[in-house]
Symmetry: C2
Amino acid sequence: EEGFKAISPAEFFYKNKELAGFSNPARALYQTIRELIENSLDATENYGILPTVKVSIRELEKIPEGGYYEVVVEDNGVGIPPKYVPQAFAQLLFSSKYVLRQSRGMFGLGAKMAVLYAQITTGQPADVIVAPIKSKHIYSFKLKIDIKENKPVILSFSVTSNLHGKHGTLVRLVTLGDWSRAKQRIYEYIKRTAIIAPYAEIGFRDPEGNYILFERVIDKLPPPAREILPHPHGVDIETLKDIIRAKASKPIVETLKESFQGVGETTARRILEEAKIDPGKKSGELTDMEVEVLVKTMKNFKDVKPPRADYLSYLGNEIITAGLNKVFEPEFVYATTRKPSVYEGHAFIVEVGLAYGGKVPLVEKPLVLRYANKIPLLYDEGSDVVIKVLNESIDFSVYEIEFPAPLVILTHICSTKIPYKGVGKEAVADVPEIEKELENAIRDSLRELRSYILRKRKEMEEIEK
Amino acid sequence: EEGFKAISPAEFFYKNKELAGFSNPARALYQTIRELIENSLDATENYGILPTVKVSIRELEKIPEGGYYEVVVEDNGVGIPPKYVPQAFAQLLFSSKYVLRQSRGMFGLGAKMAVLYAQITTGQPADVIVAPIKSKHIYSFKLKIDIKENKPVILSFSVTSNLHGKHGTLVRLVTLGDWSRAKQRIYEYIKRTAIIAPYAEIGFRDPEGNYILFERVIDKLPPPAREILPHPHGVDIETLKDIIRAKASKPIVETLKESFQGVGETTARRILEEAKIDPGKKSGELTDMEVEVLVKTMKNFKDVKPPRADYLSYLGNEIITAGLNKVFEPEFVYATTRKPSVYEGHAFIVEVGLAYGGKVPLVEKPLVLRYANKIPLLYDEGSDVVIKVLNESIDFSVYEIEFPAPLVILTHICSTKIPYKGVGKEAVADVPEIEKELENAIRDSLRELRSYILRKRKEMEEIEK
Ligand SMILES: Nc1ncnc2c1ncn2[C@@H]1O[C@H](COP(=O)(O)OP(=O)(O)OP(=O)(O)O)[C@@H](O)[C@H]1O
Ligand SMILES: Nc1ncnc2c1ncn2[C@@H]1O[C@H](COP(=O)(O)OP(=O)(O)OP(=O)(O)O)[C@@H](O)[C@H]1O
Ligand SMILES: [Mg+2]
Ligand SMILES: [Mg+2]
């Protein structure tokens, strides 16, 4: 009575799909495309494969709210082991990215939200075809989501021989969308993805029959992101209890050394000494009190190396300046990649690129291209930390910039965890450490621009004399 | 292998607690307080009880990140049946508000996030004491959340006699927080709650030992919100399939009449005729194809009454103007409650209040007080639909307002579903229908203000002659 009930994650995100970016047919079409492309890039780049991604949107029927579209995204990635395919596409909160490694995906929701929205708007199942990289077979699935139970429903399954050694994944959905309202953003998303991924080939066929190919311009992948152990400063009671449960019979000093980055024999012993815990005590025998004291001690222990960032995958000067040059043909271009920094135990790197003059259009405020873990962020600028920094901490006149001005600012944040404000991955929260790094990187870039502007002004004055 | 795994909703929101507003100790303390207060107001107001809510925050220990606080929130509400208490406080996605009725709560997460954050930062269980309204007993629980399994852990349970006929709920948590950084917002939240709930008594004892009592100034509750059947225009395939499953043996014409608002015998028959479905066919025997056609037909059926809004609970002129007068002592005050409107099958009402001059401070842009389902929204203004309307659609000079000006704008949106942008309930999404209603209500209010300003100006000119 009283209506008390539990719901599954699928029912939760079905009722509140706008939390995941599916707030109307246009946004839903955009979100569907981007979630699938992000999965394809994760499945190639992180595995040493030069990405080839084919995207197609075909209009099947026009209706008052927009239209029904067939969406197909295909890649040459590592594929997915068939036993995991049903859950990967039809069970929410299922993922291979719940590990401490930089990737575009992080929530275990993207593919499922696309499948869910298609299912509730058209009743159509998702087609998923995988050719796992070492397999001799190709597996085809027709899937729906049992929303009440958050479980896959396998409508059909078949296996064929993989005669040509193909590898990758193809996802096909029939979904409600609104191409006319989503068109500009979808094109912008793909273009902005191509700008910073010149090693990727992306083909896109749109509902109007247009085909555009973003060719691969370099044949070399950046070094991939790697998995890392958690950092002592990011630990909390639950995480430590989990670790202890997994290594219950080991001495606590061994558990600390094996489970955290930057903690060797000496550091582990010093931490345990400060926490007044016998290093030889079996991990599983620590009392709740001892666990709490140990967490406090680790969080506040000064002598640990900062979190490693050599396992992060940043863009770098070359890619940022090449991308800005290609799109804007500016007079002046500059890029900077900051040293790594830390927030709540997660290492992160901030990068900023600047383009000025030349064919950059005149704008009333800087044209900002935001990226996080190599994903272009196009919506919710108003609540993003980058815009906050630009509005609250930067006085452009100090840098000889008066609007309207021909100025583009590109920002990239990469980390083992991007603190997004929402599941739809559009805005990054104003974590103080990230805000500070952005401010420094932007100021540094604007100083370079100012030197250029002043030098040019001087040259002009010389000429006029 | 490959790290594929499923996680529970508890583990998801534990890893991504900033999605729920728990992004740092100061925000977490604020979110903890507001989630508990919102639960207390829902548990009184909606049940015809004049709310008496007691809030206390006591500092137990200062630490580098802020402090450990004991938070206690107690109310005289309907309480909770003891069999549901463990899940209500220690199982995510469990709620009595998953129904179509206006309330502050809607996600089934608020109380659990507060319990979760306290548990992972201090290791302390939550104390929950309930005196259910018709019961002769008082039930006390000590609860923790089994995060992996998203299940309650009952550490202790006891029953005592309820000798004085008390009813209500008390929640006590020991949590990490940062009072100095959260203080201003917590006070603002409570004040803004009191402004629009003059029938509520709210006592607040803060960590510095200060005590403030917001007294009840009227002894009459507004008419409570009521539960309503879904509207045909808001239906989708999954919802209709659910309804059909529950009434499988009934003729489809009966199922439609019983399950949707505004659908009587004639409308039901006309809808089925257009969908080419026999009205007498058993609901459970409809094919998938028929369900899809029926959904399409219902969504587009013009002749249905618009969603009812007489079951929504709005503030009204009296409360809005009294609140603005009390806080700002303005020279001019005005309030308007719009007729109901609809988005995606949910009825909503927009209300706007204006205060100008008198003791209203001079501001560079309007001081905006946003509310949704009677909850004050204090953060994320930059991504809220109200601010979007003010920035993009309102030219204040047209209304004789030149900044700096002494202008306050209060907005309230109430609905069976508020389209929040995030689980932390701080910003409302720019749903087109809501945006339009806000714009109309704000323009209407500003026109009234302009008449006042012009009239005053004329009087001044007369005087100066
Ligand atoms: N194209 C693909 N190639 C290989 N694996 C894929 C592909 N698409 C999805 N997957 C697998 O399915 C899982 C679920 O994808 P999904 O998009 O739902 O979540 P995610 O990418 O892990 O996180 P997020 O919700 O942030 O996108 C992924 O973790 C990945 O293991
Ligand atoms: N003070 C209270 N008095 C009575 N019932 C309460 C109280 N606090 C919580 N509950 C019950 O516990 C349930 C869970 O509360 P919780 O805050 O987690 O979710 P919610 O209020 O339903 O939704 P939201 O996450 O949006 O707040 C509520 O739906 C309500 O039934
Ligand atoms: Mg993904
Ligand atoms: Mg609640």
